[in-house]
């Protein structure tokens, strides 16, 4: 954990419930549907949510963008307001058309691991940062939450809807 992580005020974000509410089954469905719906592919460089597998403990952790209120990734972006953008609800999202793959946002992310994914490609024009946009244009809401089979994912500011 980076030193300043505790000082960050986070926004509305995808969150993992504790194991006494619902234990992550480690299936990767959240990663899969995220990249399928955003990019039409399945691949570890394309998902915007990450399952960190406890390979020995079998206890898995989920990481996703926290939509920090002061969003340093946004400020660091070389193409701010074109590539990294902010919407009226405080959602920090990437307009990939303009992303030049400079990785500045990734370096600026206050969390460890950084909550931004990156597509490596020999074709440099295809190198892109990918981050959770809370599925902002999806009427059903975040796909990862909908397709988590054991419902161990939810939205941070709706704790009562956990179950």
């Amino acid at each position: 954990m980076k030193d300043n992580e505790t000082l960050i005020q986070t926004g509305r974000h995808v969150t993992q419930f504790p194991a006494d509410v619902s234990l992550c089954a480690g299936c990767s469905s959240c990663e899969i549907v995220c990249s399928l719906l955003h990019d039409g592919v399945v691949g570890p460089s394309y998902n915007r949510i990450f399952v960190e597998r406890g390979t020995i403990s079998m206890i898995h952790r989920i990481y996703a963008c926290q939509h920090c209120v002061d969003h340093p990734c946004y400020h660091a972006c070389a193409r701010k307001d074109q590539a990294m953008c902010l919407d009226e609800n405080g959602i920090v999202y990437i307009n990939e058309e303009y992303c030049i793959g400079c990785k500045r946002c990734i370096k600026a992310c206050v969390f460890d691991p950084p909550r931004i994914n990156y597509v490596k490609s020999s074709d440099k024009s295809k190198r892109k940062a990918k981050k959770c946009d809370l599925c902002r244009t999806r009427p059903e809401g975040p796909a990862c939450v909908e397709f988590c089979q054991v419902r161990c994912l939810g939205i941070s500011d709706l704790p009562d809807e956990r179950r």
Binding site: D20, L23, T55, Q149
Partner: protein, 681 residues
């Protein structure tokens, strides 16, 4: 070139002898051979002729993903190994499925599968990263337990790699050694872990950042909701006070903690039990295990578990997915079903008195198998009951195992497994050859066929059920859902079908294809199951659906669904965009099955006589009702089966026109050339 949806396009030929890699286009095989086991069968048929032994460098391990792997289609994360199995008796071509995250990662790294050939000059592991395959020294990994190996590989390559590894059992060529993923998924039945060992191959570690592109995302999302219905429930960690299967629950002092986890990439279920804070066989600290059905019997097995027709014979209103049963989430039974009473007619299991329930000891047995990397079936279902029954019948009197035989004792189990895995003692070395071979070396009449007198029926109170001390069925495997020995008071219509599956195979079939049929068929066949074509037809359906499952790929715990018969065709279409119907998928399954048959005929001389003689003996022992099968009955059923398949009844060989019907002209020609088509004899 048009996008080949679902597949990533190439198979790696990996030569361990000279550390070279070549690439084969996947399109050489698909879609004719679907993927998974079908492609493996074709490659093996083309590349490995008769005379090769399991541990020869000429044996090949062929590993294939399916078109659904890493597409988000539930259960597609399962993948398949094939090769010559050291654990089958006699050694024959076999296959083994595996879950986990490895298969998906192989695809992200740019491969649909690989062919492992040759033998590395020294302990080696493969590190695959985005299309690059590196041969690295495994000197520092050799000798390590399974989880230590997994941990070490993550230390070296980062914790996002996915590995399959072998443990000391594989290194020491124990014939039932497994290949194991980080989440305790195994390819174990065929003993391919020992083939890895014979090739000096400790592990394969992979990282991929590429993509898999499926054809129809909308359909995939639909399948995610519809397969395995109802959707899984929230999954908190539970405190349990008992452990076991239906009718065989044992109290656990102080209780234990259970979670449920998925077994493979993208699965929509969580059938595996995560057992937290369990006693370890190797260290003071507690460990977490992932366990599935057979492990349960390590903990306690005084009585068999109950069986009801519903687990094999189903109606539209009442059919259960096994994955739901293991996670404890089946749909409630529908009592409006006219067959409701018969379907849920609970049958008490047999009293077997193999060993007393003991939770800690069970945990130790499972930990030993997990860490040494070996097949749990052979230990829990065969080795330990054999020792228990044999001791009670006095067959081991005068034999010095180096420690008194006592299956109730943790210390004895640890001692025994250690001496087998490391081949430390005379008997350890012998048992490392697997139960079938060890028993024959000792003398089958005394050490295999001696009758155990401690089994009693609870269906017919007081009826003693004679059982041999070795629970062997065909091809060097142990009984499983066969109405005798382990797992369930299953009745004759069920077990004759199960044995027919087993007869046609080279390994335990029920670990990957539990028999399913409709309850209507059950009613039709139940009085004389061996004389009814519906028994043979259901077995053929089950066999074909197993080919499909291992080819496209899906999991035995969700497939087949008798009342959603084009599910697999929909899965294939969603992944590949190639139009598929149930009929076409069944044709592909027939083709795969015929290739398997052709390999067995050409390489091992398989024919009717060999098959009938391999399976028949187990059916001469009584089921819980005291029923057996006569030689005539069994041969009548075998006739019906070959007839339905269109195969020759005398030899059990498919004729030329059957091979040709499924596009296998060259296969028929090769068999003809060696006199192995019907009429050639």
């Amino acid at each position: 070139m048009a996008t080949l949806y679902g597949y990533v396009g190439k198979i790696a030929r990996i030569n361990l002898t000279d550390s070279t890699v070549t690439h084969i286009p996947t399109s050489n095989y698909v879609p004719k051979y679907l993927g998974g086991r079908s492609v493996c069968n074709k490659i093996f048929w083309d590349e490995v002729g008769p005379g090769v032994k399991a541990f020869d460098p000429e044996n090949k391990i062929i590993y294939m993903t399916g078109p659904t792997t890493a597409t988000g289609i539930p259960t597609g994360g399962r993948t398949v190994f094939t090769g010559i199995s050291p654990n089958s008796y006699p050694e024959q071509y076999a296959w083994s499925g595996i879950g986990g995250w490895f298969g998906a990662e192989v695809k992200f790294a740019g491969f649909d599968g690989f062919i492992l050939e040759g033998k590395a000059p020294e302990p080696t592991y493969l590190y695959i990263e985005d299309g690059e395959i590196n041969f690295l020294s495994a000197r520092n990994l050799w000798g390590k337990l399974v989880h230590d190996t997994q941990r070490k590989l993550e230390e070296i390559h980062g914790n996002d790699v996915k590995s399959i590894v072998i443990g000391p059992a594989g290194e020491n060529l124990m014939r039932n050694a497994s290949i194991t993923t980080s989440n305790d998924n195994v390819a174990a039945k065929a003993g391919f872990g020992a083939v890895f060992g014979s090739k000096n191959l400790k592990a394969i570690t992979v990282r991929g950042t590429g993509t898999v592109i499926p054809a129809d995302i909308k359909k995939i999302l639909e399948l995610r909701k519809k397969m395995g219905y109802p959707q899984a429930q929230p999954n908190p960690i539970h405190h349990e006070t008992t452990h076991g299967m239906w009718g065989n629950n044992i109290p656990v002092e102080g209780g234990w903690l259970r979670g449920q986890v998925a077994c493979s990439h993208g699965c929509n279920q969580h059938c595996n039990k995560l057992m937290l804070d369990m006693k370890s066989a190797f260290k003071e600290e507690k460990v977490n295990h992932v366990e599935k059905c057979v492990s349960i019997f390590a903990f306690g097995y005084k009585e068999d578990c109950c069986w009801v027709p519903i687990q094999t014979f189903e109606t539209k209103q009442n059919h259960l997915l096994p994955c739901k049963m293991l996670s404890g989430e089946p749909l409630p039974p529908d009592p409006t079903d006219p067959h409701f009473k018969e379907l849920y007619d609970l049958v008490p299991g047999d009293i077997v008195n193999f060993w007393e329930p003991n939770f800690d000891k069970g945990s130790i047995i499972n930990d030993l198998c997990n860490e040494y990397g070996m097949d749990k079936w052979d230990v829990i279902v065969w080795l330990l009951p054999w020792l228990s029954m044999g001791k009670k019948e006095g067959v081991f009197d005068g034999i010095d195992f180096g420690m008194e035989i006592n299956v109730e004792s943790e210390e004895f189990i640890k001692y025994l497994m250690d001496s087998i895995v490391y081949r430390k003692t005379y008997y350890g070395n012998l048992l490392a050859e697997g139960m079938a071979r060890a028993i024959r070396a000792l003398g089958k009449e005394k050490f295999g066929d001696t009758i155990y007198h401690g089994r009693y029926s609870q269906v017919v109170p007081g009826l003693r059920l004679d059982l041999p001390i070795s629970l062997e069925t065909a091809w060097g495997h142990s009984v499983h859902w066969q109405g005798r020995g382990f797992e369930g008071a299953i009745n004759k219509p069920g077990w004759v079908a199960v044995n027919l599956h087993q007869m046609n195979s080279t390994r335990d079939t029920q670990t990957i294809a539990h028999h399913h049929d409709t309850f209507d068929n059950y009613l039709a066949v139940k009085d004389d199951p061996c004389r009814h074509p519906l028994t043979a037809i259901a077995v053929i359906k089950g066999e074909n659906s197993a080919e499909i499952k291992d080819s496209i790929t899906c999991c035995d715990w969700q497939s087949p669904n008798l009342f959603w018969t084009d599910m697999e065709a929909q899965m294939f279409e969603a992944a590949t965009g190639i139009e598929m119907t149930e009929e076409k998928l069944n044709e592909a399954a027939e083709r795969s099955k015929l290739l398997f048959r052709a390999i067995l005929m050409r390489n091992y001389g398989r024919d009717r006589e060999m098959e009938v003689n391999a399976i028949y003996p187990i059916m001469t022992y009584p089921d819980p009702w005291g029923q057996t099968c006569t030689w005539e009955e069994w041969n009548d059923l075998v006739d019906l089966y070959y007839e339905e398949r269109g195969w020759d009844k005398t030899t059990g060989w498919p004729p030329q026109e059957v091979f040709e019907k499924y596009g296998l002209h060259e296969v028929a020609d090769s068999l003809k050339a060696i006199g192995k088509l019907p009429g050639c004899r």
